[in-house]
Symmetry: none
Subunit: 242 residues, 2 copies
């Protein structure tokens, strides 16, 4: 179970062992894991080494410790998790218990406008894919979304690949791992045209969300501007301690 001769530190092997127990559903949310003493006996390592493994998992939110009681698998549910992380529209709607839908209004390869080129750190003459979609939740229009993606990063992008999940295509097919996104949220009121698409009265308040996603290497990979109906959509986010 634990290889003392391995160059992989023992505390890390124990970490992986615990995570694997959770992954394989041998331990479920809220379950108590073996005590430090039990791990000490099981793996023949000192208590401090067990603690190092367990504390790492506590810091990353996988486990929760309660003094005098024990250590438990975090029941940080999916909705909490989705508040913390980077998700596309579909994942967002699913975590809210709604059925996501999408209608592509246009898909084109165009020269990047100055503002877009600036945000995506491109030269003026570089191309981007521009994807305009109306987004639905439970078959009602929820948002208007316009995405820009540098053509040189994802040269073979087609309309078909966008539909299932743009994020998964970029991450898995292209092997470009996401790192984080910076999002800005403003309030505004709809124009007549937007009101028509979203099926809401003229002058209704809307949430204007702009998101720029970055890869692990620091390069921006996607800029998305979204207009959400304010009567149906509330943006939620969980902020860790400052």
């Amino acid at each position: 179970m634990i290889d003392r001769k391995s160059p992989v530190p023992m505390y890390y092997q124990i970490e992986q062992y615990i995570e694997q127990l959770i992954e394989s559903r041998n331990l479920k949310s809220g379950d108590q894991i073996p005590s430090e003493r039990e791990f000490t006996d099981q793996f023949h390592v000192s208590r401090m080494t067990v603690r190092q493994a367990v504390m790492n998992l506590v810091h990353s939110g996988v486990l929760v410790r309660i003094k005098g009681k024990g250590t438990f698998v975090s029941n940080q549910n999916k909705i909490e998790k989705s508040l913390l992380g980077l998700n596309g529209f579909s994942e967002d709607m699913i975590s809210r218990g709604m059925k996501p839908g999408s209608f592509m209004m246009s898909f084109a390869r165009i020269r990047a406008a100055a503002k877009v080129a600036d945000r995506l750190a491109l030269d003026e003459h570089d191309d981007v894919f521009e994807i305009k979609r109306t987004r639905f939740a439970d078959d009602e229009p929820m948002a208007i979304e316009t995405s820009y993606i540098p053509a040189k990063m994802v040269p073979d992008l087609t309309e078909d690949q966008v539909s299932p999940s743009l994020y998964q295509y970029i991450e898995r097919q292209c092997g470009l791992p996401f790192d984080h996104a910076v999002q800005s949220i403003e309030a505004s009121v709809v124009t007549a045209e937007e009101a028509k698409i979203l099926a809401i009265p003229k002058g209704s308040p809307i949430l204007l969300i702009e998101r720029c996603s970055y890869l692990k290497n620091g390069r921006p990979i996607e800029l998305t501007k979204s207009l959400f109906r304010a009567d149906r959509y509330k943006f939620m986010v969980k902020l860790p301690r400052g």
Copy 2:
């Protein structure tokens, strides 16, 4: 510097000492902090105790360690940090390069309304402090803020303590460490009364932000509802990888 008789653990005292060095700009971004050995000599504690303090700050992103070289203050710049973390109005405005101001409209100890009691996990008959403030940025009204704090958690709260920094009072004076906050952001339009306070036209769009802060022990400690002028304020957030 370090009080061995204090019930506050030594590793935590060391944590606060290091954070204070950074706060007071004695240590700047990228600076190397004293080595574990030096702290051991300075505070007469064992190396493992120093490590516990330092590793906590590494896990929370304040410090970065490089094997064989040393431990350094994270150069995650302020604006990045403020996007990721939990900040009060004043910190938020300062990180935007504006001068924060505040006018207290009311400060009272009242019975919690049902909605507030629910969010703060209180009984119906529990008291809360209600703090209503108009917030200014560069001497112009920017937001209307109403905060609720359970009276039993902070029984001795007075108007004077709120003014400099409510967060610091709770965290340092009361010894109640924050863990995270959950924030929801909606768009709406102002009422006549609100428009007057914020000095904007009737029917202007506003950002309605509700924040509930939680302590390390999981208990909610603060509920704040804010109305921000949409023409001046944009909410920004950094989302780590999903």
